[in-house]
Every structure is written in structure tokens, then in C-alpha cells.
């Protein structure tokens, strides 16, 4: 009798447990998306620059006669499209520029990320800037704008492309923490910067190249005002060949570092 009771007891238990299990299994072990620290992205997948131009203070275009921008399917890091930035910058032609910008309405502290693709190597006579931060002395006065930091490309002694950080405050190149970093040709690479805008010594800039911190400026006043401009661009002067093209994709402003493995969209 005891055995019979135990059998029926456990039978009930198993039946109810099985019902619970079947009912719960479809919802068990899933994923919960709790949100995002991405503040803004531009992936160009709609075939336009609207992600840039529709953002507050955003813009896209060429600031010199030879510059040209377009959304292209020639190369894309993710999806189908990327921005194609073209310039003609022969020696003596001065600075030639094409690109996108976010002016103002950027966080006092944040991460700025963009992916780049160089179809071919170039010789840099003067400069070739692809990532720029600017500042204003007076927030509401465009005339008070000034240069701050330029992340650009140069050539090492072997002719390879390498990364450079130019600090306009002191008009000097900031020494790289990791020398000999070669920028690849024909491969997407990421430049990401943490920028803390501060008028006191808490300001900072740290640059990652494909996830590796390569150069930084910390413990310094970066700007007298909260106004920040970020440009992703193809700005060259005295380049050979004269018309290097640059592809840009998956740009983001975020509160956490994206890194090479991060996702900027669902």
C-alpha cells in the first residue's frame, strides 16, 4: 500500500512538473535585450547620408572643389553600403576635403568610432587627415572655432601607412604609444577615440586602432567650452597619387567603447 501511494504520489509530481516544463521551455534560456549605450550611428544602409544630415549639427559634403561624397556599394564593412569620400589633392593645390561632420550636440564624454577602408597606398606630402575633433572658444560663435586633434595617416621609413595624432594646441604630433603600427590597405580597420571635453585638467583623448590603444593625451584641458565637433573625412594636402579614395562605414557615438567586436545596431 505504501509503495502504491508513493507511485501515485510521484506520478502526480511528474505530470505537473512535465506540464510546467512544457509551458516554460519556449520562454526559457532566451535573451533579454536591456538597451543600448549607442548614442548615434551612421551605417549608410539606406543609401543616403541622412543619418548624418538629419542629426543635430550634422552634415555631409565637400568643402573643396575636388571633393566628392557618395554612398557606394563598392566596399562595405557590414551590409551593402558605405560612404565613398574622394578628393584630388596634388601638390600645390592646398587642402582638399570631403566628409561628414557632427557639430555640437555631442556628449562631454564619449566614444567616437568609424571604420575605414583604403583601396590603395598613398604618399603623404603634407597631411592626410581622416578623423578630426574641433572646438569653439565661444559656444555660440562659429568664428571662434578652432582645430583640436587630428588623427591622420602618414608614411613610415618603409613607405608603409601609419597612424598619427596631431595636437593643434601645441602644433605637434603626439608620440605613439605603440610605434610601427601599420595601417592596412584593402582591409577595413577601426579608429575609435575616447574624448573627454573639459576646460580643466580632466580632459582626455585616447585613440584605439583596431581595438588597441595606440596614442593618448590625458590630464589636460581640451576645450574652454562644451562645444565639440567630430569629423570623419578625407582631408589631404599633397598626396600621391593625387586622388586617393577613402571608404567609411559604421560610424557611431557611444557611451561605451564599441571595439572591433562591438555591435552598433540590432
Amino acid at each position: 500500500m505504501t509503495r502504491s501511494f508513493m507511485c501515485s504520489w510521484w506520478s502526480y509530481l511528474l505530470v505537473v512538473g512535465a506540464i510546467l516544463a512544457v509551458g516554460c521551455l519556449p520562454a526559457c534560456g532566451g535573451n533579454i535585450d536591456v538597451g543600448s549605450d549607442i548614442l548615434w550611428t551612421a551605417r549608410f544602409e539606406d543609401g543616403t547620408f541622412d543619418e548624418w544630415t538629419s542629426a543635430p549639427g550634422g552634415g555631409a559634403g565637400a568643402s573643396s572643389p575636388t571633393g566628392r561624397i557618395e554612398v557606394s556599394g563598392d566596399h562595405a564593412r557590414a551590409g551593402l553600403f558605405a560612404a565613398k569620400l574622394s578628393i584630388e589633392a596634388p601638390s600645390g593645390a592646398g587642402a582638399q576635403s570631403a566628409g561628414m561632420s557632427r557639430r555640437g550636440d555631442l556628449p562631454a564624454e564619449g566614444y567616437y568610432s568609424a571604420w575605414y577602408y583604403l583601396p590603395q597606398m598613398a604618399h603623404v606630402g603634407q597631411y592626410w587627415v581622416i578623423f578630426k575633433l574641433r572646438r569653439r572658444a565661444v559656444v555660440d560663435d562659429p568664428a571662434s572655432e578652432g582645430e583640436l586633434f587630428d588623427v591622420g595617416l602618414g608614411n613610415d621609413t618603409n613607405g608603409e601607412m601609419n597612424l598619427q595624432l596631431f595636437d593643434h594646441r601645441v602644433s605637434a604630433i603626439v608620440p605613439m604609444q605603440v610605434p610601427g603600427q601599420v595601417v592596412p590597405i584593402g582591409v577595413w580597420f577601426q579608429i575609435e577615440a575616447y574624448y573627454r571635453n573639459a576646460s580643466d585638467s580632466t580632459g582626455a583623448l585616447v585613440v584605439w586602432f583596431d581595438g588597441q590603444p595606440v596614442v593618448g593625451v590625458e590630464g589636460t584641458a581640451t576645450s574652454p567650452t562644451p562645444w565639440v565637433e567630430w569629423d570623419v573625412l578625407n582631408l589631404g594636402n599633397d598626396l600621391t597619387p593625387t586622388g586617393p579614395t577613402l571608404f567609411v562605414d559604421d560610424c557611431a557615438v557611444s557611451r561605451r567603447r564599441v571595439g572591433p567586436g562591438g555591435r552598433i545596431a540590432d
Binding site: Y12, V16, I32, I38, G262
Partner: protein
């Protein structure tokens, strides 16, 4: 046992004491085994009665309620004392063959090596004597006849065995025990590895069969802060639980129990420090095990304290941009609950 039978607990004896013949008829009509044995004794008893003023050394004890000689006198009203006395003296466990002990709200009767306790908070000494005499008569009837010192003139036939005298009185359901109980209480759960502690409440039904119980119910926790990966979230959780419980040390005032079962939970997470926060829910399925104690047992139920651990083999993942998957919700939850168990049936 029919309701009219004398119960081992005196508080259930409601019938007034009757003359032996009338009593014998009543008991026989009820069909009780004990009544049948008593009938057999009475049918052989005649009217020989014990001298109540001269209790032999057969019934002894310091009891004041009932007094040994009152028991002896009551026994004489039931049986032929000359026939019972040799049987009592031949019982193992003496001397004396019968001993009565007054224990205040109860009294104890020992006949040979058999003992029975009766509760009687009213201390009705007369009824105590009669009940003790009945037990003595039944015990004597179940004993074998001693070898006679001389051939009896008319040896009576051996009485039929009486089962009721050989068994202890059926145990009543202990205080605070019910077939179906409602357990309600306060609850607290700790998410191991997520730095989270959530207060809550539980409510469940406990269905009792013997030493086993089947518990089914639900509990929920108030929203609590937690850290998963590097993401701070606010989470709440409700769970339905089905468990088997076994009690240890059933009849003690404080007794422990162990339980093991399955738990299905719904977990909600919402980020608290992301630029864009979203809330999401996911289910969990795991096993739960633990133990506890019940105490303060009263007629309405008891209090309980319970400590549990839940293991979810495949907890949901938490994702947030730009990192993507930042971690999993806790695989292990530990909890404690305290409350009351109220008997429903």
C-alpha cells in the same frame, strides 16, 4: 471504530457508566472488538464483586485519582474477580500486576507489561476508575490462563482473543497537522553572482499524506538592483514551484523537513544606466531544493522557516549594445522564507 465505542482518550468517553449487563448489551450492539471481549467477560462474571474496601495487592499505585481500590471496585463490577485475579497475577511485568499512576491531567494504567495513558483534564476520578478497570479487564481477558494449583472444578473456556487490548490506541492527528495547508510568508532571494537581494513573498498549498507533502505555489520578489556583466539592471522575478517535501521527526514540537522540486520563473530585466534602456522578460526552468523547520504548532497550523536554493541550468542571456551579450542572469538563487502554515482541512 464506531463512534459509540469507548475511545482510548477519555475526553471522548461521553456515555455514562452503566451496569455491567446494560453495558454489555450496548457494547455488543456496537460491534466493537473491545466490547465483544468485555461481553465475554461479563457473561462469565455473574455478580461476584470485589470488596472495594479491601483492595488486594493486585492493584497498587500512588494515584489519588483514581485510587487503586476504586479501580479494583470498578473491576469487580465488570468481571468475576476470583477468575480474573489469577490471570492478573500471572501477567509478566509485575509485581504489582496492576499499577495506577496519577499524572494530573492524565493518568496511566499498567497491566502486566502493557501500559496505557489516558487524558482527563477534568479529573473525573470515578470515570477514571471505570476506564482503568475496563483496560484491566480487557488485558486480563487476553492473557493466558495460569496453570492451576489444583484442578478447577469447571474450567472456563479460553476467551477469544481480543485485538483491541493488544494494540495501542490509535494515534490522533498531532496538533497543527492538516491534510491541506496554506503557507504564506515573507521571502528573500539572493542572486548569486549578480549582487542582488530581493525581498518578496510566497504563498503555496501543502497537501499532506503521511510523512510526505506536495507543495505547489508561487512567490515573487520586489524589483532589485543587480549587476550582470558590466550592465546595471533592475530585475524582478516571479516563480511557480512544485516540490515534494518529507517531514522528519513528525511528532515533535519542532520538526524539520526537506524538499525537492521544480521551479518555473519569469524574470524581467531593465537596464538602469544605459543611454537607451529597455525591459525584457524571459523564462527560467530549474530545480529547487532546501529544508526548513516547523514550530509553534497550534490547532490552526504552525510557523515555518525555509531555506532554499534554485539552480537554473540555462539562464537567459543579457545583451546590450555595443557589447552585445554581456552575461547571463544568475544560475543560482538562494533564498529564505518565514511565515505561517494555516490548516485548511
Amino acid at each position: 471504530m464506531p463512534a459509540g465505542c469507548l475511545n482510548a482518550r477519555m475526553r471522548r468517553v461521553t456515555d455514562p457508566w452503566r451496569a455491567p449487563r446494560a453495558r454489555g448489551r450496548r457494547v455488543a450492539s456496537l460491534g466493537c472488538a473491545g466490547g465483544a471481549a468485555l461481553l465475554a467477560l461479563v457473561s462469565r462474571a455473574g455478580h461476584a464483586a470485589a470488596d472495594s474496601d479491601h483492595a488486594p495487592d493486585v492493584v497498587q499505585g500512588t494515584s489519588a485519582c483514581p485510587e487503586p481500590r476504586a479501580v479494583w471496585a470498578a473491576l469487580g463490577a465488570l468481571v468475576v474477580i476470583d477468575g480474573v485475579e489469577p490471570r492478573l497475577r500471572a501477567l509478566p511485568g509485575g509485581p504489582p500486576p496492576v499499577e495506577v499512576t496519577d499524572r494530573g491531567a492524565a493518568f496511566r494504567v499498567r497491566v502486566g507489561d502493557r501500559t496505557r495513558d489516558y487524558e482527563d483534564t477534568a479529573r473525573d476520578c470515578g470515570n477514571r476508575a471505570k476506564l482503568a478497570a475496563l483496560f484491566v479487564a480487557l488485558a486480563a481477558d487476553s492473557a493466558e490462563d495460569p496453570l492451576p494449583a489444583k484442578p478447577p472444578e469447571a474450567p472456563p473456556a479460553p476467551p477469544p482473543p481480543v485485538n483491541v487490548t493488544a494494540s495501542q490506541p490509535p494515534a490522533a492527528r498531532p496538533v497543527g497537522r492538516h491534510t491541506l495547508s496554506l503557507e504564506v510568508g515573507a521571502d528573500a532571494r539572493v542572486a548569486i553572482g549578480a549582487s542582488s537581494t530581493a525581498p518578496g513573498a510566497l504563498v503555496q498549498l501543502a497537501f499532506e499524506r503521511g510523512r510526505w507533502e506536495l507543495t505547489a505555489g508561487a512567490r515573487g520578489g520586489a524589483p532589485a538592483e543587480a549587476t550582470i556583466g558590466e550592465v546595471h539592471v533592475r530585475q524582478w522575478r516571479v516563480a511557480a514551484q512544485l516540490a515534494a517535501r518529507v517531514r522528519l521527526g513528525d511528532d515533535r514540537p519542532v520538526f524539520p523537513f526537506l524538499e525537492l522540486g521544480a521551479v518555473a520563473a519569469l524574470l524581467s530585466e531593465r537596464a538602469t544606466d544605459l543611454a537607451t534602456a529597455r525591459a525584457g522578460e524571459a523564462g527560467e526552468l530549474g530545480i529547487v531544493g532546501g529544508g526548513g523547520v516547523r514550530f509553534l504548532r497550534r490547532g490552526w497550523g504552525s510557523a515555518f522557516v525555509l531555506v532554499e536554493a534554485e539552480l537554473d541550468p540555462a539562464p537567459p542571456t543579457i545583451s546590450a549594445l555595443p557589447a552585445g551579450e554581456v552575461g547571463r542572469t544568475p544560475r543560482l538563487w538562494a533564498g529564505a522564507a518565514a511565515g505561517v502554515s494555516v490548516g485548511l482541512f
